[in-house]
Symmetry: C2
Subunit: 238 residues, 2 copies
C-alpha cells in the first residue's frame, strides 16, 4: 500500500498522541517541528484524517482553541474540529512503533520513525538504527561498485558529484554509529524493563544521553534574499 501516506498516518497518530489538535495546526507541526518530510498539503491531510476517523483511531470533537483559556471561555465558537486519539488509535500507534521492517529504514520513513523515538522502546530504536545503517551500507556498496566500473570514463564534475554523494552517506553511517553506541551505553541489560511499561512519561532526557554535539556554526557569506518563491513548505501560500 501507500508509501508516503503511510508516513503521514504514522506522524499524525504520533502527534495526536502528545496532544489533541485540529487539522490546521497538525499540518504546521508536520512541516516545521518534524521539518524532515517535506510539506503535505491539505488535500492530503484532511482525507487522511477522515480515513483515520473511519478506522476508529481518531475521534472528531468540536472544540475551541485549546491553548488559549480566554478564547475557550467564549464557548463553542466555530466549526473547528479537534482530533483526539482513541484507545484503539493509541494501541495501533504503539503497534506501528514496534514494527522494524525493511521499509522502516528508507529515507523519509526513517526520519518519521526517528522523530518519535522518544516514545519508542530502546530495543526497537536500536533495531531501526541498525537497519538504517545496513541500508546505507548497501547503498554505499553499490555506489562504490558503479564508481569502479565507470571511473575514467567520467569527467571531473560527475566524479566530484559522486564523491560528494558517497561522503554524505558515509557521514550518516558515522552518525548512526554514534547513536547506536550511545543507545547501548545507556544501559545494556538483557530485557529492556519489567515489561508492559512501554510509555514512560516523555518530558525529556530519560534516554541515557545522546552524543554531545555543538550545533550551528554559521558559515558566513552570501546573504539569502534572492527570490526563491513558492515553496510548498510555506504556510504563507499565495
Amino acid at each position: 500500500m501507500s508509501r508516503r501516506s503511510g508516513i503521514l498516518e504514522f506522524a499524525v497518530l504520533g502527534l495526536l498522541r502528545e496532544a489533541p489538535m485540529h487539522g490546521y495546526e497538525l499540518r504546521k507541526r508536520l512541516n516545521t517541528s518534524l521539518g524532515i518530510f517535506r510539506a503535505f498539503s491539505y488535500g492530503t491531510l484532511y482525507p487522511c484524517l477522515k480515513t483515520l476517523v473511519a478506522n476508529g483511531w481518531l475521534i472528531e470533537e468540536p472544540g475551541s482553541a485549546p491553548e488559549d483559556a480566554l478564547a475557550a471561555s467564549l464557548a463553542g465558537r466555530r466549526a473547528k474540529i479537534v482530533y483526539r486519539l482513541t484507545a484503539e488509535g493509541k494501541e495501533h500507534f504503539e503497534e506501528l512503533l514496534s514494527h522494524t521492517g525493511p521499509d522502516t529504514w528508507e529515507d523519509e520513513h526513517f526520519a518519521a520513525r526517528f522523530a518519535f523515538f522518544g516514545q519508542t522502546e530502546r530495543e526497537v530504536r536500536v533495531r531501526v538504527l541498525e537497519g538504517r545503517r545496513s541500508r546505507l551500507e548497501e547503498r554505499l556498496e553499490k555506489m562504490r561498485a558503479s564508481l569502479v566500473r565507470t571511473r575514467e570514463r567520467l569527467d571531473d564534475y560527475t566524479l566530484e558529484l559522486q564523491r560528494h554523494g558517497m561522503e554524505s552517506v558515509e557521514r550518516e553511517v558515522r552518525w548512526l554509529n554514534e547513536l547506536i553506541e550511545s543507545e547501548r551505553a545507556g544501559r545494556d541489560q538483557r530485557q529492556p524493563a519489567p515489561e508492559s511499561s512501554a510509555q514512560q512519561d516523555n518530558t525529556s532526557g530519560e534516554t541515557g544521553g545522546l552524543p554531545r554535539h555543538r550545533g550551528a556554526e554559521s558559515s558566513g557569506g552570501t546573504p539569502p534574499g534572492s527570490s526563491t518563491p513558492p515553496d510548498p513548505s510555506d504556510d504563507t501560500a499565495k
Copy 2:
C-alpha cells in the same frame, strides 16, 4: 509544467549528446552514472523519449549494439532502437544548459545540472552554484528560526534529528563554497573566452582543477547482506 520530467528530458538530452544509445542503456546510465536522481522507470522513460522525438530533438534509428564490433557485423539483428540527438536537439540542450532560473537550484534539478557541468560554461556554472548556495542558506534560515521557536518543547531525539539535518545542509554550503572558489581561481577574466567556442572537447580536466579530495574512507563494521529487497533502482526487477 512538469517538474521531475523536465529533469529526465534534460538528462536524456545530455547523455545522448555524448553518444547515441537505446532506451535500456539510457535508463541504466540514468540510475548509476548519474546515481543521484533516483530511478526512473521505463513507464516514464519511453514516453519521454517519444515526446523528445516528436519535438524533433531526437531521431530513432535501428541499430545493433554500437559498442560491439562483432555484434554489429551480424547486421540489423533486432528491433533495437538507437536514439541520436539531432542538430535541433543539441541546440535545445545548449539552451537548457545556459538557463539559471530559481528552479535550477532545487535538489534533484541541481544534481542534474551539476552532472553536466563538464559541458557548461564557467560563467553559468558559477551562477548555478551560487544560486544553490543561497537556496540552502534560506533553508538554513528557516530551520534555525523554527528551531528557536520550538526548542525546549521538543524531546532529545527530535532535537537531534533537527541538528543533524542542519549540519548536513551546512556541509553542503561549505562544499559549494569550495567549488565556487575553485571555479573563480580557474581563471578570473572578464569574458569567459573568445565567444562562440562554447564546447571545448570534454575529455577531462580542462577545468582549472576541482578542490582536492581523497575519497572513500570506508567506515568499518556491520556487513550489509540484510534483506532489503525490491529497490526500484535495481535493474533486476522481478
